[in-house]
């Protein structure tokens, strides 16, 4: 079943075409990566899904129904910009967000305690929001996003500012919800997480979707011409364009895209003469590489 469908959606602010002919179809129970550089039109797309903005043309269907304000109670949205009422106490904030999502009053305390427990915030239930650390506020905001048990959740950069422990708790909760059939739209710049969590992605740039599909399919199309290498020494051979198309050097680790027709063995031979190779791997391109190279080539086309 398709949870969210966007068909030829357009939205412009004056001369700026924020979203151009956007087409999306997200299956129920998927974790879907909505990616794109800053200012690509992600927030506009999300606001149209939330029915905060209306598309100029095209249509959006949610759970098979045309989008309308009445569907808001089925959707949860964690915006990238964090904000809660600082003077209220933790439980009152949760209760308020539950009420404006039409959760029955008598169910609120149990649901709140349950989620506070899961996110390790139960001791802070009666504290003021402003007393919480940033990471805790973020977890609280996540609770406010899912307190009404939405069928579709939009998470915009949910992991920024979280330590590894909390990142893991949040990730496990996302997988839990996915297992229960919740659809999650996950918008982020952190490609590693997208790679691990998302089945499908859509990459938007300048309002247009430039890459769309299953993560595994996308990787296959980009081919197995990537090399990852750990080394010691001075890797000046990287700048030779005759067999290296592009590279991303970290000093002791480098990701390399080979030029067409060059075998990885050739690179290894070359590298061993210059540096001490400690790890050498032939791999799929990472989403990070795909993201950067796609956005870059798009930029070149426009320039």
């Amino acid at each position: 079943m398709v949870s969210l469908k966007m068909h030829n959606v357009n939205k412009a602010y004056g001369k700026i075409h924020a979203v151009k002919d956007l087409n999306l179809a997200i299956q129920q129970g998927d974790i879907f990566g909505l990616l794109g550089p800053n200012g690509a039109g992600k927030t506009t797309a999300i606001r149209m899904i939330m029915d905060i903005l209306r598309p100029d043309s095209g249509y959006i269907e949610i759970f098979g129904k045309p989008n309308s304000a009445t569907l808001r109670d089925e959707i949860g949205y964690l915006p990238e910009e964090r904000g809660l009422y600082k003077k209220m106490n933790v439980f009152d904030v949760i209760s308020f967000f539950a009420e404006i999502k039409s959760v029955p009053q008598k169910e609120i305390p149990d649901r709140a305690s349950n989620l506070l427990q899961k996110l390790d915030l139960l001791d802070w239930r009666d504290k003021k929001v402003e007393e919480l650390s940033r990471g805790m506020q973020q977890k609280l905001q996540f609770i406010c996003t899912v307190i009404h048990e939405p069928k579709l959740i939009i998470l915009d950069e949910p992991f920024t500012g979280l330590d590894p422990v909390n990142t893991r708790i949040l990730k496990d909760m996302m997988l839990d919800m996915k297992a229960k059939g919740t659809t999650i739209i996950f918008s982020t710049h952190l490609m590693e997480q997208v790679e691990k969590l998302c089945e499908s992605i859509c990459l938007i740039n300048r309002g247009e979707s430039i890459l769309r599909g299953k993560v595994s399919d996308i990787k296959t199309t980009f081919g197995k011409n990537r090399v990852r290498m750990s080394y010691e020494g001075k890797a000046d051979f990287l700048t030779d364009p005759s067999y290296i198309a592009s590279y991303d050097d970290y000093g002791q680790y480098v990701e390399i895209q080979l030029a067409e027709g060059v075998s990885s063995q050739e690179l290894l031979k070359n590298a061993m003469q210059k540096v001490a190779v400690q790890h050498f791997e032939i791999a799929d391109p990472s989403l990070n590489e795909i993201f950067i190279s796609t956005v870059k080539s798009e930029g070149n086309n426009h320039a």
Partner: protein, 427 residues
Amino acid sequence: MHKTWAIIKREYLERVNTKGFIISTLVVPFVLIALVMAPALLLRTNLDNQRHIAIIDLTDRLAKPVTEGLQASYKTSKGEPIYNVKTLNVTRENIKMAKSELNQKIYEGVFDALLVFPADIFQTNNFELYAKNVSNIERNSTLERTVTNTVRRLRMQENGFDASLIEQINKRVQATTYKVKSQGSTKESGQLSFLISYIMVFLLYMALIFYGMFVMRGVIEDKSSRVVEMITSSVSPSQLMTGKVLGIGASGLTQFVIWILIAVFLSTFGLTAVQIFNPSIQNLPLPDISIWVYVAFVVYFLLGYFLYATLYAAVGSMVSQESDAQNLQWPVLMFIILAFLFMFAVINNPDSTLSVALSLIPFFTPILMFLRISMEAAPLWQIGLSIAIVLLTNWLFLWISGRIYRIGILMYGKRASLPEALKWIKS
């Protein structure tokens, strides 16, 4: 509807639970009570302490009438004389010694004051007053007045005038003011009812500004804390604005209802309460305010509040920080201030054509029409018309502000200009 209700509830509780709200709600009536009660209670403390006065009389004829005058005119709340006067038998020869002896007694507190009437008091018009504290104006003037009256009366008698007749002739004439009401005439102090009108209009003026600014600040806080993004994913901007305006308005209403209840309680039971402390007090300077003035106060507060709060909400939505709002809120604030300035013209002549016209301009109606009602200068048809005009304007502004707000709350970065806001209204 329940979503708007949740927002109303949150806004209301957030305002009512602040120290500022509780303090201002309690301080205003406390000042009112103090204004009414204090004179009565202060009087009591002054009147109930007996004063011990010693007199040295070298004329031999002043001591007795002065004593009688003091004891007849000044009584404690229990009806006993305040002044306990002792006349000492002193002659010109031993006066020096007597004075130093009495100084000692005054210092020890046996006497509060010593009056020395010299033999030539009728020529010099001067007597001596010794006391530990000589700056007690109330006591000094009481003693001076009594001695002066006694000396005058004696002079009149010596010159063959009938003192009581002259007193009769010299009596002051006072005006009692009557305010004409449709039900007939009621006695009332003119000065006081003017003061009460003024205080109520001033409260209204402050309330419109403060509660309007609360709305603006609330909108800006929602924006700057980014909480608005979360909320607009659950409720529509118009629900959010309505909830905010109603919630903050309800907190203002709460404050006024508390004040009015205290005022009504005070004018009903204030006298009884004061009499517990001081039974001799027969009346208090309590204003006789018709219940309809209180009703008008609440009605015009609400009308004015909705008028200005929706405008303030629009202004708040156009900026990202409070400091940016300074210039934009001026047009709104100016109308409230103008209304307050026109108040003086209306007070001078509440029935003039100018007053009627001003009080029917929707921006000024809340303050000026209420003022005219409190002065009982507004006929019913004008009251009805003014309410209709303001309601119509409110409806128009709610629509305009709603359109600005809807777009404004999701805009970040630079302040929106008025032409931009006009574009939002049209879009």
